[in-house]
Symmetry: C2
Subunit: 706 residues, 2 copies
């Protein structure tokens, strides 16, 4: 036996078979580990290998056995045909790779299970807790003799929290974009943070329209606020802010108890951030209270109780349920044709991004999912109407984009009614006015089964109360702040406001004396009688820019402005001329948009400033600085940087990135999604978003209502 001769006793049958097919004469074949060495003493005496034998060998080698390269002496002088063996090799290698892929994926799954296994906690809670007596039964006080929450239940829960117990108290009202941006940015060690809000989640508002028809699920758009607050070792209370006592530095809060009764308490603060949003949340309650009296509401439109709104996550759920309910009703044999058309007539009031995106999402759903599961007659009797008071939809965007969106809607058979004002919403129809060619106002009506009111916001009761209490608050819609976001009228540096509930004052010309004061003091002159030279003007402009960063764009060509307003060509500006100049810049400044973007930037700005102030505090104390404009001393004024707007318009999206605007089909939609995916608040929401999008692609939208 060759195998025996070759010293292969005890090796595996396969090896022996290979050795014998190779027919290597006088070759001492050794087996060490998994590398089998074929050594022939004289190369010249090598044998000729035939094809099948060769492929047999090489296949085996490639698969299992890395033969050591240096010790091979298999010699041939015939170039043999190889194509089949190569294909085989290629197949084997592909299979190996695929096997590896499967194994690796399987390994990942197993690893995940091991991880999952370790996330369960089987041990009941047995920790000794120390809780301050004052936290358990807080002392009462203040004008209303309410409990004052100075010490909190979880102040001693861990070391980190214990350390922060006596830090300055930072109270944040609201859990919107501004508050969350602040919480994610702030240095957790500097303040004892308490967040107060009636909702215990942060809502990713820009994607809310997608949740109304099931493109996204509700839970994918919200993040538990306790998770965000927990990351900065803060505290959360599910309560509403009722009032602020500025002199006592107390916020009055209220929570609805288990039996519906209101429980009031005070929360002390050193710094207060107001980020309570606008009255979207309260709209429903407000309307409910007023249904009986049939009062005209803040928007001057009768019958808003017949509308849906889209401000909160609950709104999205109600809308989804109503849309599906209408589809189900329309499929019943008892429903007449006219009634069916009414039920399937969807009206959207307001042509801003929310209204437009809802109309687009609704159309998508009706176009993509409806016909699969509902009688086809429904699809042919559906109508979507969009009522817009301005001349174009998306009127805050670039005109080309408005046009694109309108064309898109025309293609999608969404009926866009511009220059139309809603007069009244009734249970089964909507009345609106339009001007005809002769400028005559005519009233039209649309029977409808669903109406979304997506225009106009109003101030919350809380903000109205604060605005009334404070001097210098003249805006009917929002709390006014200075450019350092400090609430005007409140003690300087105590109270800040961010987000939709606030607006930043841009009255530069009112501050003219402030700007001139140092200059006048240097020259020993009365600021109102001073002559301002060009170099003085440059100094003034510098200070205007620092104080009102939003004005920078209008202060670029200082020489031109100087020339233009130096009417008497004296080479100097007098007080009147300067005031005129500044007033003109004022008029060019628009108020900042009430968007998530602005709130987000404001929150980040405040977080940075507060962190900075905490850093500077020891130095300040040392120098006994405790009065004056600390904010201005330590940090720059807030400057809003517009990053662009985007909107989804039904299998297409439009973008307006500071001058660069573009629009497009599905690829733009993917981009639109990527932007929001990136901006999303946590890994959790990102995973859920990805899952929802995949789910839509694979199974369509869920048309169920419960």
């Amino acid at each position: 036996m060759l195998a025996r001769r070759a010293g292969l006793n005890g090796t595996r049958p396969f090896q022996r078979a290979v050795a014998s097919t190779l027919n290597i004469s006088r070759a001492p074949v050794q087996s060490t580990g998994y590398a089998y060495r074929f050594l022939s003493q004289k190369a010249g005496s090598s044998s000729l290998l035939k094809r099948p034998q060769l492929s047999h060998l090489s296949r085996w080698r490639w698969r299992t056995c890395p033969v050591s390269f240096s010790q091979i002496r298999i010699i041939t002088t015939h170039p043999l045909p190889q194509s089949k063996s190569r294909v085989l090799r290629w197949i084997y290698r592909s299979l190996a790779y695929l096997g590896f892929f499967v194994l690796f994926s399987g390994g990942c799954v197993v690893a995940f299970f091991v991880y999952d296994y370790n996330t369960y906690n089987e041990n009941p809670f047995e920790e000794e807790l120390k809780i301050s007596e004052l936290a358990l039964s807080p002392r009462r006080g203040g004008p209303k003799n309410l409990p004052i929450a100075e010490h909190l239940l979880d102040d001693d829960d861990d070391e980190k929290k214990k350390e922060k117990k006596h830090k300055p108290k930072l109270v944040v009202l609201g859990t919107g974009w501004g508050s969350v941006a602040l919480l994610k940015q702030i240095n957790p060690d500097d303040y004892h943070i308490v967040v107060v809000s009636p909702s215990n989640y942060f809502l990713f508002t820009p994607m809310l329209p997608s949740a109304t028809v099931g493109t996204l699920e509700l839970r994918s758009l919200v993040e538990p606020i306790r998770r965000i607050v927990g990351a900065v070792k803060g505290h959360f209370m599910k309560a509403s802010a009722e009032d602020v006592l500025f002199s006592e530095k107390l916020v009055e809060c209220s929570a609805v108890g288990p039996n519906g009764e209101k429980q009031h308490f005070y929360l002390p603060y050193d710094k207060l951030i107001i980020g309570v949003g606008n009255a979207g949340l309260l709209m429903r309650t407000w309307i409910k209270l007023n249904i009986l009296g049939s009062v005209t509401n803040p928007h001057g439109v009768k019958g808003l109780e017949n509308c849906h709104f889209l401000k909160d996550i609950t709104d999205a759920r109600l809308i989804r349920n109503t849309v599906v309910r209408n589809l189900e009703l329309a499929s019943l044999p008892t429903t007449s044709d006219q009634e069916r058309r009414r039920l399937l007539s969807f009206v959207v009031c307001g042509g801003g991004p929310t209204g437009v995106e809802f109309a687009a999402e609704l159309f998508d759903m009706l176009n993509e999912d409806l016909c699969r599961y509902y009688p086809k007659i429904l699809r042919s009797e559906i109508s979507v109407h969009l009522i817009q008071s301005r001349g174009h939809i998306l009127n805050t965007y670039d005109e080309a984009l408005s046009k694109y969106a309108e064309d898109r809607f025309a293609h999608d058979q969404v009926d866009v009614l511009t220059n139309s004002r809603v007069a009244e919403v009734q249970a089964d129809k909507i009345l609106f006015t339009q001007k005809d060619e002769n400028n005559q106002v005519i009233t039209k009506e649309i029977p409808m089964g669903f109406c979304l009111w997506s225009t106009g916001v109003s101030q919350t009761e809380f903000c109205q109360k604060l605005a009334k209490k404070l001097d210098g608050q003249n805006n009917r819609h929002a709390l006014e702040t200075d450019t350092h976001l400090r609430l005007i009228g409140a003690p300087l540096g105590d109270v800040y406001a961010v987000g939709d509930c606030s607006t930043v004052q841009n009255n530069i010309s009112d501050h003219i004396v402030t700007f001139l004061r140092t200059l006048a003091w240097e020259k020993g002159q009365d600021p109102e009688r001073m002559q301002i030279s060009f170099s003085d003007w440059r100094k003034v402009a510098q200070r205007v820019k620092a104080r009102f960063p939003q004005a920078s764009d209008h202060l670029r060509r200082l020489d031109k402005l100087f020339q233009q307003y130096d009417k008497d060509q004296s080479g100097t500006l007098d007080f009147g001329e300067l005031r005129e100049l500044l007033a003109q810049i004022d008029s060019k400044l628009t108020s900042l948009p009430a968007t998530a973007q602005r709130a987000h930037q404001q929150g980040q700005y405040l977080a940075r400033k507060l962190t900075r102030m905490a850093q500077m505090a020891p130095g300040m104390k040392l120098n006994e600085v405790s009065y004056g404009d600390l904010d201005e001393a330590v940090y720059k004024a807030f400057e809003y940087k517009h990053m662009g707007s985007l909107a989804y318009v039904g299998n297409a999206a439009v973008f307006d990135f500071g001058g660069i605007s573009f629009s497009g089909g599905l690829l733009a939609v993917y981009l639109w999604r990527s932007v929001y995916f990136a901006q999303s608040v946590s890994l959790r929401t990102r995973m859920l978003l990805a899952m929802d999008w995949s789910k839509r692609a694979m199974f369509g939208r869920d048309l169920m209502n419960f």
Copy 2:
């Protein structure tokens, strides 16, 4: 240059470098395709390769270039050290595999995007529809002169549906386990199927307790019924069944219109399946109506309006919101310590699987997620109580399993109160009675912030109405059917009932004359006076088994039974003896459990029978067979096969698979999940379940209420 000499002009630099490091003298190196051949004419004149050069070459080979094995003449006589080169090779190969893994995964993602891209539909609907005039305005008729839905809106929607327009009308009431099992099993071509239900989804009830605390999401447990109905080209109507007119073969249905008014209509049927479940859904409405009168409800317990139920998906949402609300209230500074303990006292009434699993899930959530985000004092003040009227929890399971579950709960500090009967539920406490050692009934109370009522079911109004109308319906809790699942009292073969709303009659002894009829006819005797020999008894037993499959287990030892009941040792049984024998078997048969499993098997059974009947119909028509017991002629009676019970008991699970029972920790939980994962209704729900479980592991449960 060696490279030039070796004929490597025009080849890539790397090859050249390799060739020169190899330093092969007189070696005509050829490059064909990607296999580079190194041929030396005389093996004896080969050069000695040094280590780094070798590793260089072999590395290159392994990575990129399958050198043809037969044409290599690289010769060495030194066995060189190889460990480093092997490690390198191994690393390179691993990297190659990893790269492949990444590429393959990336490829999958890209493929998915391409797929996703093609799921959007941009074209507005432009199809011409033909709809029967009778579908648009149905003719009126019947005793109440209501519209009769003979033709449906989507009867002509596609070819498949058109074909089925004139097939026998199969009407299915309800969308529970029974109905869905039927729809998934039935041959879609045989019947014109209409499904009627007030809910447009199928709910995967066994996992409902997991949804109450956010381990699973609500949408993962429901599947749109229109998707299931669509798969068999059926029709769905969101309406409630109100009555059945058996002689006219009409179901009276009602739907709630857009303004809350009820719209009634008739739906004609040839075969009717009643699978409406029990009154869980209606419990809330019922209680609401009765709150003012403070009537004692069907369960004989006062104050059920203070309880939560767990029958429907909405219940799970309400429970989740209430649990989180209580946690939030307990964290407020205004809540006293006593009130906090009350709010955090959770009571579960009923120790069946639902109650036990809810208590387990609640405990898990409190143990795993609460301390991360809420003040720790909450965890130490929480109590979970389980009130069970029997001696053990899970009393339908094997005793060892009950014990295991009780031990588990003892370890988890869940307070199990056995032999306790709830007397009254008040808004803030629950009263229950227990017997002390002296058998004295004493009343105890537990203050509570949340109470789940998970025991007892009652019949729906619809079923009560039917039971009253029909002869032979004597069960207070459910509709009675024969073993062919035909509703007793209704015209034979028209109406079937499945699931929790029904129960299968097992009165074998009542049918004794039927069993003996053929036998008596053969012998020309009166069945009641016949003497039954052992061979006769075997024939009778055969027929009993066929008609009452559930009795098979008790009919195994025919000889023993015969001997036992042949009291006069005559070798024959007389009528009285046989009746006694059968009555004894009757008494051993218990009614089938009201579980998803039973409903599922019944649905499948009916689907198979209906398909079979449709296949036999042409033959029947030919032979003019249109009367008699068709069901028995074409198909066997329904036999329930118990596949086992399982329950989740807090990071552990118990299983009871027909005699084999076992319990265990987390690995059993994974098994428990696998069972339900496999049973889940669609790929969609499976994906969502997997996602939910991963989400829990990675981010914990979402503690938000909205």
